[in-house]
Symmetry: C2
Subunit: 480 residues, 2 copies
């Protein structure tokens, strides 16, 4: 048996894989964007159990091509416009190679000092690019940490806020704690609240304009306002909560404010978009997902907090087997106490490579190019009176729908009919495999979402996507 | 600006990185295993802020070599014997390349069917290799899921158990729920309990033999026994909780039992080690970390549960933007409801590549070779009467210490003196950079831990490690 980490065999197979992925990117437009397989397809193709004897990498790669790729939805395709992007890049990929290659387990400073220190440095770099107040940076006694996803980041801050509050007002208040979000807040908040043991009846999804009254009513009912999650760029339509007035309400009631800018936060490195996070100095924590729109692969959620000690109080454990001089000296950051898990990957590496390989200038250009393409798409929709734009476009998401024939009195329920029509349209374009878009429902209206953000997307793809939509809409309207 | 995912540039830089990592493995013994940098070293070497203009990959790699590698503790070094191993392999690395390259966000089946289906398949494969009862496999209405780490897995199962219990006995019992572990249970349990909102005074770390009495006393005090975590291969000494009798106690009190075999679970694919998880059919959930001792890089925690619906009830959210036909059909697994986060990486890919590239036969051989080397090391310790083996060796961890001069009456506190001596010895060998081992404290005794498990470790490294220890011990004893 060759050693499973033999450098020469590693080299041979590694080069083979680089070519495999480079070829995949080259051929990516030949695949249907949305996988068209049926549930259970793979079980029919693979053996019942693991092989007893080794198989060659050549055989395995053939199977990846034959069995896996048809079952993949091609998030890296230039014709991918669904959900939010998952924008990979060469720099990120190289960072992942380095971090997987070193495979350090950076739970504390001592287990690999470079992993911790690089993370502190890039989080301050990125914080400054976003013009975050100094109080969120290490140089201002706050600090940033890389988590997996926003769900984890919200859970950590929520646990910190909860324990701080219970410490103040007694653990018997646990059942009284209330968490607030808007009706468009990401489901991550609800899930984090569930996991943190917040009573389900104390989770509020309310219009932001009604926050003060709702909180006041809760206080009068003997409840304890705990946590508010404001969103910059909601998942459905990219709506933006007004941070400043929300923070004022929160301040009056001593609540923790988290600002979730998972998707749109990246754009705030451009001066012209920075105003969307104005008021952030009033919040306690802030997140953006570099793995959405910052050329970084999943997972890489950037969390900044003003008061790291609140996280640490809630999340630290100090087992004997991890004791060391550096920790005892208090001169170092031990990130294990800033997150759910003990073990952690060297994620700072990929963010460092992205920042250095592209530089602030090109990162801004990249984001702007997507917004510009989204404006183009929006214009194409507006210029066709069979279609309607359904929400203000703030970044690179366009919400739209096709309109039913006007004044068709034969249809009893116009709202229902429009929704069904758009559902059919979306299924039709996604079923073609030429593009992939997703949907949402806002105030009862079914809406198609087109987000421009895949790294390989160029203007020609956007124009072609619009043509695909028009063709499918025409076919549908003439059929109905 | 070249497109950040241009296939030809990707190819060029990708090949460069493969050589970089292959060279790293080739040269790995020339680096000091434990990094010797001082806190704050990196800040002095890197610029204050992110570059405005792009930098070349050549420049960046030079900096990795000059600034990062000296700050890394080399977990892949054959001279690494600390904590538990983090055993990478070529197959795993290729799996990471594929999964990063595709960069799919597999929150539900529909977002990339292959990612979900391959995960179900490999979890059944691995479950069968471990001879888990069918009730833990998809083919028996249970199922497996890949999580990041054990902390996450325990938190998910704990939340599921908690919500099931509160559903039964009323949410006002939240404060009464009690979680049990042994005095050697991993700190992950305590952390998960903290995050899940279990009252800190209701966390019990007790000797397993005293479990029944403790639970009985809690019930009599009006508390509600909730969750028991049993460990196969504790972090400190690889002690093994007797699963069967513990499950009997738990059953009598209607508790959820989780079996944590983070490190040792991998070995149970060998028939001769399988008996260590006898009784597993009485548990509700089971974890092992493939990223410890199964040739897989961080992160890859394998969790099996008997009742996935308990997880789903506690962790599911169904926002409008994720609605789809496949989910509505209930023919598919949506893993987002089995874990904390929504977004998830295609981790099954690397596990699939490890299983296929090595096969059951070689995976067993690999694990056995480490156990054999640990036996050798244990023998070396036993044959030197200046040393003492401190705990039974069950897998590939040897706990030992150097003995102070016998009958040296000049030393007032013998226990304290022995502890200080071993602390000094560990610092001395780790400071040399020739090996890296870690420590623990059990019943007041400071113990050095030597775990054989790095992929590149061969017998000659173990023999050399022992020589290093002897030399440093001799120097220390003659000095004292």
């Amino acid at each position: 048996m060759v050693n499973p980490l033999d450098p020469e065999e590693f080299r041979r197979q590694g080069h083979m894989l680089i070519d495999f992925i480079a070829d995949y990117y080259q051929d990516i437009e030949s695949y249907k964007v949305l996988s068209q397989v049926e549930p259970g397809y793979l079980k029919k193709l693979l053996p019942e159990s693991a092989p007893y004897y080794p198989e060659s990498i050549e055989t395995i790669l053939q199977d990846v091509q034959k069995y896996i790729i048809p079952g993949i939805t091609h998030w890296q395709s230039p014709n991918y416009f669904a959900y939010f992007p998952s924008s990979g890049s060469t720099a990120d990929f190289l960072g992942e190679i380095l971090s997987t290659g070193f495979n350090v387990v950076g739970f504390n400073w001592m287990s690999s000092p470079a992993a911790t220190e690089l993370e502190c440095i890039v989080m301050d770099w990125l914080g400054e690019m976003l013009m975050l107040p100094k109080s969120f940076l290490f140089k201002g006694n706050g600090g940033g940490v890389l988590q997996g996803t926003t769900c984890e980041a919200i859970l950590c801050t929520l646990a910190a806020a909860r324990d701080q509050m219970l410490n103040r007002c007694g653990s018997e208040k646990m059942e009284k704690l209330v968490v607030y979000g808007s009706d468009q807040t990401h489901s991550a908040l609800q899930k984090a609240a569930q996991i943190a043991g917040i009573h389900t009846k104390n989770f509020r999804a309310i219009k932001t304009s009604k926050l003060r009254n709702a909180v006041q009513a809760d206080v009068e009912a003997g409840l304890v306002p705990l946590f508010l999650c404001a969103t910059v760029g909601t998942t459905s339509t990219n709506a933006i909560d007004p941070i400043e007035p929300l923070c004022e309400v929160a301040k009056d009631f001593n609540m923790w404010v988290h600002v979730d800018a998972a998707y749109a936060g990246s754009a705030c490195i451009c001066p012209e978009f920075r105003h969307f996070i104005d008021g952030i100095e009033g919040a306690n924590s802030f997140t953006l997902n570099a793995h959405k729109w910052f050329l970084t692969t999943l997972d890489c959620c950037c969390l900044w907090v003003k008061d790291p000690s609140a996280l640490i109080k809630s999340l630290s454990t100090n087992p004997e087997f991890l004791r060391n001089k550096a920790t005892d000296s208090k001169l170092v950051v031990d990130y294990k106490d800033w997150q759910i898990t003990l073990s952690r990957r060297f994620r700072a590496m990929k963010l460092w490579l992205v920042l250095r390989s592209y530089g602030v200038a090109n990162l801004r250009n990249f984001l702007r190019s997507h917004v510009k393409m989204a404006k183009l798409f929006e214009e194409l929709v507006r210029n066709d009176n069979k279609f309607e734009v359904m929400a203000p476009r703030n970044f690179a998401l366009v919400c739209f729908r096709v309109l039913p024939w006007p004044n068709d009195n034969s249809v009893a329920n116009q709202v229902e009919y429009a929704n069904e029509l758009n559902k059919e349209l979306l299924e039709s374009i996604n079923g073609s495999g030429n593009v992939y878009m997703s949907s949402t429902v806002v105030d009862g209206a079914y809406i198609i979402r087109c987000v421009i953000g895949a790294t390989l997307t160029e203007e020609r793809h956007v124009i072609r996507a619009w043509k695909v939509i028009q063709e499918h809409a025409d076919a549908l309207l003439s059929k109905n």
